[in-house]
């Protein structure tokens, strides 16, 4: 699974939570999940659960807290999926 593939799936998972749908169209690894996509901060826990289900991984609270951008999410998932 390449980083590009993971990134695409990450964006798809976050899409229903994003209030700023226009920003999804130009999303890149630097896109900030809360600020740029206008995701309600309370929904981060739901996004983390969705990552766990999608990629069959476990994400502890510390790892979840470090996710700020789409790139952070992608890297974390790739690193956990390859361990």
């Amino acid at each position: 699974m390449t980083e590009n593939e993971v990134f695409t799936r990450v964006v798809k998972i976050i899409t229903p939570f994003a209030k700023n749908t226009a920003a999804l169209g130009t999303a890149n690894v630097s896109t900030r999940i809360l600020e740029d996509l206008s995701v309600n901060s309370a929904r981060l826990v739901d996004i983390i659960l969705a990552f766990e289900d999608e990629f069959n991984i476990a994400i502890d609270d510390d790892a979840a807290d470090r996710v700020r951008t789409l790139g952070d999410a992608t890297h974390m998932i790739v690193s956990k999926a390859t361990h």
Binding site: T15, D46, L49
Partner: protein, 426 residues
């Protein structure tokens, strides 16, 4: 100082037989039933397998709310939200999906009640997850769907309301109580407008307890449209239903200043409790409380009992119907032959519980404003105790020039609510 007059300047409705004011008005005129056989109730072994569930909502809700918002909206919130947005627009304000109001409206609040609340979320998500030891897997979506105020909080956020935003709960009186509360709130000058009414979700978890109490209709599972039989000798209980009905309650001064359309004037509202004494209990009304509530509403309205042209009753199709009529006769201090016309909207849509008062108030205002009285169906075999007021029962839809309407709701807890509405000549 005289208190300001209060009018209704907008309405929204999601009901079992129709959604939206236009279709709901037509459904009332046509005496269209919203009661259907519900396979899920049969599967679960309910004695009553019919109910009222608004149709087309899964598609319609996407026209009102973003995918993000819908993630945390159960059925009672969706019904309240659609009805509130419709009411807001009907009152002359704008709301567009994707570009909701940017600023807070400090002049408008909301009191939107629910009888049972988000028990569908509790039953489908909270209890299974917690019992499995999977609390973490619930995610963030449950609290905002199960807190009692979820139905008003979501509306407040959707529309950017800055007045008091709250949820009331008084069983089957809820929707009417909300409108009386809003009436009092704006009359006291706390806000120019309040969006007020009630909502109730569609869930077998909500309806199960009533089925177990044996107060739901039995024997009509193969004839759903005949199951809701208020005032009938063959009534066997109420038909559970769901939906939402809300009204924009506004000071007359504010309405006139902004050139708003006015549907009707609220002359008065009264709320009380029978104290669960003298025949009253948690589940039955103290007749003295009911009579006092109606009389209090009339006394503060400035009208005389004989001015009331139509009663939109609570009338659920239980053994309490004859008692309700008896209480109305006592409260109005009239001879049976002079009793006003009366109908039951529940004969068409069943009993919407916490939504009942709100939906039925929308029905009441439409009838008053549009000059008709909808037929109260399924009581051709009138209960023998109602023979003395038989000519007052409206069986088929008719034109009307009624100018004063009384609407009452009664609920578990021995609580009562009554509103007196007056036709508005634009």
């Amino acid at each position: 100082m005289n208190k300001p007059r209060v009018v209704i300047t907008g309405m929204g409705v999601v009901a079992a037989n129709a959604s939206g004011l236009k279709d709901f008005g037509e459904a009332l005129r046509e005496t269209r039933s919203g009661i259907r056989f519900q396979p899920k109730l049969k599967e679960l072994g309910f004695a009553c397998q019919v109910g009222g569930i608004p149709v087309g909502i899964e598609e319609r809700k996407k026209e009102y709310f973003s995918s993000d918002a819908l993630l945390a909206m159960n059925s009672s919130m969706v019904y309240a939200g659609i009805a509130a947005v419709d009411c807001w627009r009907d009152a002359g304000f704008s709301y567009e999906l994707g570009t909701p109001p940017a600023n807070v409206d400090w002049d408008t609040g909301a009191v939107i009640g629910t009888g049972i609340g988000g028990i569908d979320t509790v039953g489908e998500i909270v209890i299974p997850r917690v019992n499995e030891g999977q609390v973490r897997r619930m995610g963030s979506l449950t609290v905002e769907q199960t807190m009692a105020s979820s139905v008003s909080a979501s509306v407040g956020g959707t529309l950017g309301l800055g007045g008091q935003v709250t949820t009331n709960s008084s069983a089957c009186t809820t929707g009417t109580e909300a409108v009386v509360s809003a009436f009092n709130y704006v009359r006291e000058g706390h806000a120019k407008r309040m969006i007020a009414g009630g909502t109730e979700g569609s869930s077998h978890y909500i309806w199960a307890g009533f089925d177990a109490m044996r107060v739901l209709a039995r024997g009509f599972n193969d004839r759903p449209e005949q199951a809701s039989r208020p005032m009938s000798a063959s009534a066997t209980g109420f038909v559970p239903s769901s939906g939402a009905g809300v009204l924009m309650v506004e000071t007359l001064d504010s309405a006139l200043r902004r050139g708003a359309k006015i549907y009707a004037e609220i002359l008065s509202g009264a709320l009380n409790c029978g104290g669960q004494r003298t025949g009253g209990s948690m589940t039955a009304p103290n007749p003295e409380g009911v009579v006092r509530c109606i009389r209090q509403a009339i006394a503060s309205s400035g009208i005389q009992p004989q001015d009331i042209g139509l009663i939109n009753g609570h009338l659920t199709a239980t053994m309490a119907d004859p008692l309700e009529i008896h209480n109305w006769v006592r409260a109005l201090e009239c001879k049976a032959e002079n009793f006003p016309l009366i109908n039951s909207t529940k004969s068409l849509i069943g009993h919407g519980l916490g939504a009942a008062g709100g939906i039925e108030l929308v029905a009441s205002v439409l009838q008053l404003q549009q000059g008709f009285i909808h037929g109260s169906v399924n009581c051709e075999d009138l209960h023998p105790k109602l023979e003395t007021i038989a000519k007052s029962v409206v069986h088929a839809t008719r034109a009307s020039d009624v100018r004063i309407l009384a609407k009452a709701s009664f609920g578990f807890g021995d609580v009562n609510g009554c509103l007196i509405l007056k036709y508005w000549q634009n």
